[in-house]
């Protein structure tokens, strides 16, 4: 299961007045709740803003109010810096005025928004020995596009302005144009390296809306989610090894990733876990012989990875490049609202898995230094603990069959929020139905949306030549941000 909350729309802590909503939200946040998401949706009287917070026990709570776009509300970002990107999105998508916001730069330059992605005025810096470097949107490797503008003082990065939106495909609008029960293929492509995390959040939301119990598929989904984590951690470590010029580790991690994704393919027919999660059902088939074969394969993967981990993390040249590079301290990580692996590497113990079956009660692994080394070491630890879990779950040789049940009608007037811990961090899907049970709003949040600012902070006062390893250590999604 995912961390999910299903609310009657009117029962969701609704405030008459936007100021009361804002005050109550700030009170909750200063009392130690964490802001999970904040988004807007069209409403006859303006824009309905919804904030979701989470307490230490993992419980999700929503509060909402209707605002007039012209009046808007006073920014939360001065008190809660992590809210900056939500408010920027709210301003871009719904033209809500956010008074006193420090930086209302569009998040993704949607069409018709007035500003073109090619003509945006970046911050500039003047002075002796200052210069600017523009990288992208097309990068040197075979990766997604996004632009980075470095304001440098000599070799040191004074500030990095991240400029995204090149990948914007209009996902949220498309999600409302089709049968809400048949969205899995589209949801799988929100961020193609996190298909399982996103489809699980979607499926959990839909199962809540149709009162369909899919807990029998929890273990299957957990296996696929952990395999996705293993594969992408291996891909990220391989990228990091490439960027520091350690070719042996780079090529070994790449071939180990092949073993992990071919494991996914044996289970569901896709190396990226496509079709593995179906609303109410599952696209995974497993018999005893395959389970035994996979166990051997993952045992070898674990052993071979450990050998190369020791070489990679122990090499003096690697430590020289990664240690103390791209540091984000715990205070900054918490303040910026970083999530997932990046937050944990800075010492923030945040992992949605501990609130859910079949992980409940697991200890959250964290690192303390918050540098590139911490993120690399944490990914190594996580990939092995994920492999341990997968092997433990496959050991009894479970029999799994594919099923795609037809889900019934969606409950009317409901708001459902589903949160799944993908390999980057928490994936949040918020769905809302009207009085007739039609899906009226679909909010998607990839962890990258919040973590890009972490990267911008990490590279400050680092050499510009260290940017590639900083970027790879965060390993964020462009299309997940741009939707």
């Amino acid at each position: 299961m995912s961390a999910t909350v299903l609310l009657n729309v009117d029962a969701a802590d609704a405030h008459e007045d936007v100021r009361a909503w804002r005050d109550a939200l700030l009170e909750r946040l200063s009392a130690g709740h964490r802001l999970v998401t904040l988004y807007g949706a069209p409403h006859p009287e303006g824009v309905r803003v919804t904030a979701v917070v989470q307490d230490d026990a993992g419980e999700l709570r929503a509060s909402r109010a209707v605002v007039s776009a012209a009046t808007g509300f006073h920014t939360l970002s001065h008190d809660i810096p992590g809210a900056h990107v939500f408010e920027r999105e709210l301003h871009e998508q719904h033209a809500v005025r956010i008074a006193d916001h420090p930086w209302l730069k569009p998040v993704r330059f949607e069409r018709g928004g007035g500003v073109s992605v090619d003509e945006y005025p970046f911050y500039a810096m003047r002075g002796k020995e200052t210069h600017e470097v523009q990288v992208g949107p097309i990068h040197a490797g075979v990766i997604e596009p996004g632009a980075f503008r470095f304001l440098c003082h000599g070799e040191l990065v004074h500030h990095l302005e991240i400029h995204l939106g090149y990948q914007h495909r209009g996902v949220e609008r498309l999600l409302l144009q089709r049968d809400p029960r048949a969205l899995a293929p589209l949801v799988e492509q929100i961020a193609g390296d996190s298909s399982v995390a996103h489809t699980w959040a979607y499926a959990a939301a839909l199962e809540a809306l149709t009162a369909h119990d899919a807990s029998e598929h929890d273990l299957t989904r957990a296996v696929m989610l952990e395999l996705e984590r293993v594969a992408m951690h291996l891909a990220g470590l391989g990228g990091l090894a490439t960027d520091v010029g350690f070719t042996q580790a780079a090529s070994t991690y790449a071939r180990l990733r092949t073993a992990a994704i071919n494991g996914s393919m044996a289970l569901c027919g896709s190396r990226f876990g496509r079709t593995a999660v179906q609303p109410g059902g599952s696209g995974v088939a497993l018999d005893g012989a395959t389970a035994a074969e996979l166990l051997l394969r993952f045992e070898a993967l674990d052993r071979d990875a450990r050998e190369i981990d020791a070489l990679f993390l122990g090499a003096r040249s690697v430590r020289h490049r990664l240690c103390d590079t791209g540091r984000v301290d715990r205070y900054t990580a918490a303040e910026l609202g970083l999530v997932g692996m990046a937050a944990r590497a800075s010492g923030v113990a945040l992992d949605q898995r501990v609130y859910c079956e079949p992980w409940r009660g697991q200890v959250i692994a964290t690192a303390s230094t918050g540098d590139c080394m911490a993120r690399a070491e944490l990914r190594v630890r996580e990939l092995h603990s994920s492999l341990d879990l997968v092997r433990r779950w496959l050991a009894p040789a479970p029999e799994w069959r594919r099923s795609r049940p037809q889900l019934g009608a969606l409950a009317p007037s409901r708001l459902v929020i589903a949160v799944v811990e993908g390999w980057r961090g928490e994936v949040v899907h918020a769905l809302e139905t009207d009085a007739a049970g039609a899906l009226t709003h679909y909010k998607v949040q990839d962890p990258s949306l919040r973590n890009w600012m972490g990267l911008a902070q990490a590279v400050r006062n680092n050499e510009i030549s260290d940017f590639p390893i900083c970027n790879k250590s965060f390993d964020l999604s462009y299309c997940g941000n741009d939707l």
């Binding site: 075979v142 495909r169 209009g170 390296d193 090529s251 092949t258 044996a266 496509r274 071979d304 070489l311």
Partner: protein
């Protein structure tokens, strides 16, 4: 140093000796459509397809649109559609992407051989790609697939490239950068469209945020289907086109 050599030894070699013969276990690849007659007026497969890849009478599946979600396979009461693990799906034109009842894979004509000889350098541009095709294209040069042994490699600059490999449905915000990359490439040059998104727009073809005019002005010489593309599908298509 000795530790590195020991690791090198214990890790062994994993390259696929014959890419042409490899058939990935469990892979959902080239569909096979039986010639069994359809039930009267049955449209089950067409209705469940998220990208309108299926047309009926005769049953035809457009690989350029297919996301390999297998919904049609499950929906068909006559079990006419079956996704095999055959990775050979590339084509030289959009007609070649249509799979009909009883069709077998056909090799692509060696269109690149005369101008580019035995080696091509490729510049990849993702224009709204979801990072799955991008990861698979990266995998074409990992130690398993090792396409570099056939003279195929990825380059950083469009100035160094013979071919432009496009992934993604071409988001409006990337249309200009894509055109600039193409303009920067020296002739002779060619375009390869990879994945359902690039070939047809895929699930995003009706979206208001794509701008696909580029592929209207420059027709790809090779289409490589997949969602995402499998490295072997890419290998077959490229090796065919290079006449290798």
């Amino acid at each position: 140093m000795f530790k590195n050599l020991a690791a090198r030894r214990s890790q062994g070699t994993q390259f696929i000796r014959d890419l042409r013969a490899a058939r990935p276990t469990g892979f959902r690849g080239r569909p096979r459509l039986d010639a069994t007659p359809c039930g009267d007026g049955c449209t089950a497969c067409r209705e469940v397809c998220p990208t309108e890849a299926i047309t009926l009478a005769p049953l035809t599946l457009d690989l350029g649109r297919c996301t390999f979600c297998a919904a049609c396979e499950l929906a068909c009461p006559a079990e006419k559609l079956h996704f095999s693990n055959d990775p050979r799906m590339g084509a030289a034109d959009t007609q070649g992407l249509l799979v009909r009842e009883g069709d077998e894979p056909k090799a692509i004509a060696a269109s690149l051989h005369r101008l580019f000889g035995r080696s091509v350098r490729l510049r990849q541009v993702s224009a709204g790609g979801c990072n799955a095709c991008e990861l698979e294209l990266n995998a074409t040069v990992n130690v398993n697939f090792d396409l570099q042994r056939y003279g195929i490699d990825w380059v950083a600059s469009p100035r160094h490239a013979d071919g432009l490999v496009v992934t993604g449905p071409i988001s409006a915000n990337m249309a200009r950068a894509l055109q600039l990359a193409w303009d920067a490439m020296p002739a002779p040059k060619f375009v390869i469209a990879v994945g359902a998104c690039a070939i047809s727009g895929g699930l995003f073809r009706e979206g208001a945020e794509t701008e696909r005019a580029f592929l209207g002005t420059v027709a790809p010489v090779v289409y490589v289907p997949g969602c995402p593309v499998h490295p072997l599908t890419f290998a077959h298509a490229l090796l065919d086109a290079m006449g290798r």
